[in-house]
Amino acid sequence: MSEVWQLWTYLSEGPLLWLTLTLMAYLAADRLSLMANRAPLANPVLLAVIMLAVTLWATATPYETYFEGAQFVHFLLGPATVALAVPLHANLGRVRKALVPMTAALLAGSATAIAVALGVGYALGLEIEPLLSLAPKSATAPVAMGVSERIGGAPALTAVMVLLTGVIGAIVATPLLNLLRIRDWRARGFAVGVAAHGIGTARAFQVNETAGAFSGIGMGLNAILTAVLAPLAASLF
C-alpha cells in the first residue's frame, strides 16, 4: 500500500498526470456529448470541468498543482485565437456581404449584454464592485479582466463571470435560436460569439462551420467594442 502511495505522490506532483487527465476528461466529455447528439446541456467544457473538479476534490489536490500540467492546454488558447483567421478567411466572401447586418448585430448584442447585466444587477441590489465586474463579462477573458480592473471591478470575479457566461451561452443558444426560428447560420453564430465569446464559439463550431466562423468574428469584434462600451456604461454608476 505504501508503494502505491509513493507512486501517487510522485505522479500527482508532476505535470504529466494532470495534463493526461485533462485530455482524458475532455475526450470522455466529448464522447458523452456526441452520444447525446450534441445536446446543449451535455456541454463538453462543463462535463470535463465537473469530472476534473471532483477528481481534484477527492484527491485533495491544490489547483496550482493541477495547473502545472493543465497550463500546456491553457496556453493553446492564444494560438487557437490566431487560428480563427483561417475560417474567417474561408468565409470572407460571405463576411463581406454581411458587413451591415454584422455591424448592427454587434452594436445591439454588445450593448444588450452590458445594459441588461448592469440593469438587472442594479435592480436586484448588487453592491458596486460585483456590479462593475459584470459589465465586460461577455468579452473574451483577457479583455474582460483588463476592462474590469480599469472601471473599478474585481478582475478575479470577472474571470468567473466570463466563464459562466460562456457556458450559459453555449447551453441556451440552440434552443433559444430555434425558438426564435432563426435559420441563418451567420446570424446564429455571430450573436453567440458576441454574447458568449470563445466557449460560445466552441459550441458554434460543433453545430456548423459557418456559424463557427461568424462566431469567431463576433467574439473578436466584441472584444474591441466592450473595451469602449463597458467603461461608458460603468461611468453611469
Binding site: L77, V160, I168
Partner: protein
Amino acid sequence: MIFHITVLLAFQLLGEGISRALLPVLPGPVLGMVLLLAAMLTVPRLAEAIRPTANGLLGHLSLLFVPAGVGVVGHLDLIVDQGAALVAALVLSTVLAIAVGALVFVGVARMVGQADE
C-alpha cells in the same frame, strides 16, 4: 505540423508585441488573428497550408477552456456570496444578448438585401 504551429505562434508573438507597444486595449492573440488574415490575403498559399492544423485546433476549442474552468470551480463561492442577483444578471443578459443580436442580424440583413444565399 511544426511549421503550422510556428506560424500561429509567430503571429501571436507579433500581436502581443503590437498590443504591448501600441494598442493595450486589444489582446495580442486578437491582433495576431487580424495580422494572419492580412497575411493570408496577401499569400493565399499560406491559408491552404495551415488550414488542417487550424481546423484541428478549432475543432477542439472546448478542450482549451477546461483548465480555466476547473479554476473557476474553486472560486464559485465568489458567485454564491453575491446570491441570486448575480446569477439572474448573468443568465438574463446572456439570453437577451443572443436573442437581440441574432434578431437584429436577420432583420437588418433582410432590410439591406444581404440575406444568406
